[in-house]
């Protein structure tokens, strides 16, 4: 395409103040998506496009056939990926822990489980027993398979501050991942246990 016939519309660079504040870093340095048009206009920013197209760039080559084309119809458009639109912050949400428990599952039933909860925020508080329903509790799908009698988890209640500055209360259960028993380890345990028991038996 001849350089002189190109028209580039940069769209979406005007943002509200709120949206602008939510955007950080270099993410606001470019348009969200761009139009390209093989057209030539009379040098005025087309008012019908409104202020959105504030960075309209026009290259005019007088007397060319392009003068007769409708300048409003872009002949091509380059859309940047939506991901770029979401890439508005490099900041992570901040979590302030208000309360932390260490829980041990003591029983699993249909639809939930019971656990002993030890207060790690204020250890002088008594242990409590709580019943959780799966449908009311925020447990990741990955963690569901970890829920067995004897499993331990952390329960965090806190306040999350999003990059946009929004504050919300959160509750998270995170089950501890533990290694699996191996044949070798169990065999060693069994041998050690046998030796210990025999030592008592021989002398008793």
């Amino acid at each position: 395409m001849p350089q002189g016939l190109s028209t580039t519309f940069s769209v979406g660079q005007e943002r509200t103040a709120d949206a602008q504040s939510a955007i950080s870093g270099s993410a606001d340095s470019g348009p969200i998506f761009e139009f390209s048009s093989e057209s030539s206009v009379d040098g005025n920013a087309n008012p019908q496009l409104g202020s959105t197209f504030s960075s309209l760039q026009i290259t005019k080559e007088p007397g060319s056939v392009a003068d007769y084309r409708d300048p409003m119809i872009p002949t091509s458009a380059t859309f940047q990926p939506a991901a770029r639109m979401l890439k508005i912050s490099s900041r992570e949400p901040k979590l302030k822990t208000r309360q932390l428990w260490e829980g041990t599952v003591i029983g699993v039933r249909n639809g939930g489980f019971a656990a002993v909860l030890r207060d790690r925020t204020n250890p002088s508080n008594p242990d409590e027993q709580g019943s959780f329903n799966f449908e009311d509790t925020e447990i990741s799908a990955d963690d569901l398979g970890l829920i067995h009698p004897g499993s331990t988890f952390y329960w965090i209640i806190g306040t999350e501050v999003t990059p946009a500055g929004q504050v919300k209360n959160v509750s998270m259960l995170q089950f501890r991942r533990v290694p699996a028993w191996t044949e070798l380890r169990l065999q060693r345990n069994a041998e050690s246990a046998h030796r210990l028991r025999e030592s008592f038996q021989e002398e008793a």
């Binding site: 041990t104 027993q129 004897g150 331990t152 209640i157 191996t182 169990l186 046998h194």
Partner: protein
Amino acid sequence: MRRSDPPAVDEFEISVIGPGRGECVIVHLGDNHWCVVDSCVPRRLAEPVAIEYLNSFQNGALAGVELIVATHWHDDHIRGLASIVSKVPTASFFCSNALNTDNFFALAETASATIQGASGVEEFSAILGIITDNASTRQARRLASPKWVVENRSLVRSIQPSRSFPVTITALSPSDGTVRRAYQEIANLLPRAGEAQRRIPSISPNHTSIVLWIEAGPLRALLGADLEHTGNPGDGWMAVVGCHQSHRESQRASFIKVPHHGSANGDYPSVWTRMLTPDPLAVVTPFNAGANRLPLPSDLERLAGRTNNLYCTAPGPGKVPTRDSVVEKTMRSQLAGRRVIDGQPGHVRTRWSVNVENPQATVEVFHGAYRV
């Protein structure tokens, strides 16, 4: 009397302490000799209640502990027992013969290797470790070895004239049949390759519990542990009553530590008619950590129908702690149910002056314990 006043040398004492999760029975055998049955460590106490109580006398009572009994290895009965074993290395350690298997030792080895936190098996593993560490010689190991208990085993027989009164302690359970069955049940708890290294849950059967029969001079006491009535003549309370009928039919106890926190499945009516005097002193300890709190109101009603001298060591679960409003609100939205499972270590203390005509019990309650 103050709680910290020690018994006289010729006083027989049974102290039952139960904070709502776990229990501990402390028995004065005369002349500052003691027996500790099970253990618990209530919140806000750094040490087991037995150590706290015996040290409160400031007369060397802790060093006078002759025997330590683990009736079974549930978390709520064994917590802190390793600490007592550690502090009194001269005491004999007794536990159920159901644990005298390679499988249970392997379970203890497994528990000590897991990264999941304390459990009853871990406590047992710690006890074995302490015994091993304390017994560097063959002779020491022989003396320190756990004493394996089956029905009719004599734990103590102190009849020396130098003692203020004669004392015998005999186990009435577990029966041989129970022990054999328990072996398989324990084997089923062993982890298998590929399974996560989880905490070992306390799901062993209560019917392996050690029930004790204590004779102190003319007095008799029955400590029921967590033994349940299974309906099987070969184990549970039916086996105990059978054992009692065979060996000491005419004897009746005037004190009972009510089995299994007063639950209906721990109650066998023949115990009250064949092993106990009318209106015996009965002490029940609550248990708040299970599916249902024990004893239920119906349990207390049933027990109160059996004796007019029923005591409970704690009034029920303690008050739920108050946290900030956001935490409380979130807890309410997340939990279908919630309760505190341990509170103050309530204490029922019974003392008898043994060497008097017709000894009468003096019952005192401390820290929230009450007469039902």
